[in-house]
Every structure is written in structure tokens, then in C-alpha cells.
Amino acid sequence: MRRRPATLGRLATALALALPAAACSASGPTPKWADFGGDASRGQVTIGRLGCGSCHEIPGVPDAHGLTGPPLTRFARRTMVAGLLPNTPANLVRWLRDPQGVLPGNAMPQADLSEAQARDIAAYLYTLD
């Protein structure tokens, strides 16, 4: 009985992931982050728990309509992270774990994230095409 919500949640996740992918078939190839480790669906949950959505617009994350930081829509195609680092998996993970070290004094808080958690979050953001 307790498994039912999980199944529903997975369905919702699949829908949330599939819908934007179907809606945005923009021209040009998406950068491939194929060999990049990280579990996108786990990352999606972590993003929700960390409250990233109170500052960022994040497709597929409930109530993520923040107006403080930049929207993370189509993140897989974005060129820069924080307007500073080229958008690569290594740079994104570095930024997520140490925003104050990368850009001291910016508004993004230093959440206590493990390497694995940051990789999961990055993996989810790279599903946003």
C-alpha cells in the first residue's frame, strides 16, 4: 500500500521530464553529458528539499517560481554558470557546492552539499533542454 504514492510520484516525474522535452525541440544539438555521473530523478527531489525553487524558476520542480536568481529553464543549453564559468559538469558541480568560494558575496547560499548530491542536481538540470 505504501508503494502507491512512490509509483504515482515516479509517473509524475516521468511526465514532468517528458513534457518539457516534447514541448521544446529547438534547433541544434544539445550538449551531451552522457558520461556524467549523477541521478537526475534523485537530483530533482534534492532540489525540492533544498528550496532552490524559492529563488529559481525550475521546470519540473513543484512551486519553483523564484524571482531572485536566474531561471534555470533550458539549463542544458545555457552557456555560462553564474555568468562566470563555462557550463560544464565539473564547473556546475563546483558552483553548486561552493557558490561563495566561486563568487564571493553573491546571493546564492552555501548549502552543505556532498559531491554526489551536487552531481545528482547537475544531472537533473541537464535534463532541462
Partner: protein, 216 residues
């Protein structure tokens, strides 16, 4: 031609409605009595429940604040006092500019939001309702039970100022002596321009610096 008997159709409909109600009641009772609904906070609300609770809260707050009076401007002294209350009572769950929440807040469901843009989403009267009354089925307390009326308005004053504070500004406010009204946002600073708060306090111990650490 078949004679129409509307009372018959009505009787069937009534029976169907009754049966549906009984079935719904039985399912509802099962959920409540048999633990079918998991109260665990490990998995967040599903999409529907999340939408239903959050939307209900938004409309409830809007309704409560509809005819509530709110000051049209706040003084810097209110902002300063509000900051002290916020830093002591709120920052652990809601963070601040460049300031993380306590790590255990990620175990709260629903998760407490950062409030940097709260003043862009809510009116001062609505913020006052949320602070004073709290939010059921979340971890948000009703602060009117422990703070005075003036103090809850001080918190609203600070939330109105929050979109204009950089991470460096927030840390600077922490360094200011808590019992002196010595905050000047800089008369030409964006804070004063945008909020219309008169620079009542005189000493420029720190100034709004446009988000540049150590700048201005």
C-alpha cells in the same frame, strides 16, 4: 409511447448518489484509520496535494489580508529591529542573501522558502498575516503568540527591505550594535529610492553598496 416517470429516474439518481457518498466515506475512513496516508516527511507531497495545500494557503492569506490595514511605509528603525528579529528567529529556516538555512531544514516538508523575493510576491498586509498567524500543516509558527503586534510589523518592514540587501549588506547588519539605530542605507542608494524610506538614522556605519562586497 412510453410514459415518462421522472420520480423513478430521480429515485435511481438519489440511490446512486447515496451509494457514492457511502463508498467515499468508507475510503476516507480507511485512509484515516488504517494509516493508508503516509505522514512521513521523507517523500514530499505529491503534485496534487502540494498544489491543493499551497493554493489553499495563498488564497486563505489573501482573504485574511483583504481588509487589513497596513502602513504605507516603514522606518529604518523598523527595518533594523526587524532584521534583529529575523536573524534570531527566521534565518535558520528561511536563510538570507548568501546565507544558507540550517541543513536540517531540508528534512522539512513542505520546505521553508528563502524569502528574498517575498515582498515581490506578497503585499505587506499579506506578509503580516503569514508572520502573525503562521501556516497550518507547515513548520511556520504563529508569531503573534510570542511577538508583539509592533514586532510582527518590524519583521514585515525587514522583508520589504530584503530584496535590496546584498549578502555583504546582511553580514554588515549583523556586525552593527543591536541597540543602536545606526543604519543608513545611503540616501542615493537603491534601497531608499525604491522603498521611499526616509533616512531617519544619521550615521552611515554601513551603506547600501549595490551588491559589491566591500564596495562603495
Amino acid at each position: 409511447m412510453v410514459p415518462i416517470r421522472p420520480w423513478r429516474a430521480l429515485a435511481w439518481m438519489a440511490a446512486g448518489a447515496l451509494l457514492t457518498l457511502v463508498a467515499m466515506g468508507a475510503v476516507g475512513l480507511l485512509v484515516v484509520e488504517d494509516g493508508l496516508f503516509s505522514a512521513s516527511a521523507v517523500t514530499p507531497h505529491g503534485a496534487f496535494l502540494g498544489w491543493a495545500t499551497h493554493t489553499t494557503m495563498i488564497h486563505s492569506v489573501a482573504r485574511s489580508a483583504r481588509d487589513a490595514p497596513a502602513p504605507r511605509r516603514f522606518s529604518q528603525a523598523q527595518v533594523a529591529q526587524g532584521f534583529r528579529l529575523y536573524d534570531r528567529h527566521c534565518a535558520m529556516c528561511h536563510g538570507g542573501p548568501g546565507l544558507p538555512r540550517e541543513s536540517w531544514t531540508r528534512g522539512l516538508s513542505p520546505t521553508p522558502p528563502y524569502l528574498l523575493d517575498a515582498a515581490r510576491r506578497w503585499t505587506p498586509a499579506q506578509l503580516k498575516v503569514i508572520v502573525a498567524d503562521g501556516v497550518k500543516m507547515t513548520a511556520m509558527p504563529a508569531w503573534s503568540l510570542t511577538l508583539g503586534e509592533a514586532e510582527t510589523w518590524d519583521l514585515v518592514a525587514f522583508l520589504e527591505a530584503l530584496p535590496y540587501l546584498s549578502a555583504a549588506d546582511y553580514q554588515a547588519m549583523r556586525r552593527i550594535s543591536p541597540y543602536r539605530c545606526s543604519i543608513s542605507f545611503g540616501q542615493a542608494g537603491a534601497f531608499c529610492r525604491n522603498t521611499g524610506i526616509p533616512p531617519e538614522c544619521d550615521i552611515g556605519r554601513w551603506r547600501y553598496n549595490g551588491g559589491v562586497p566591500g564596495g562603495a
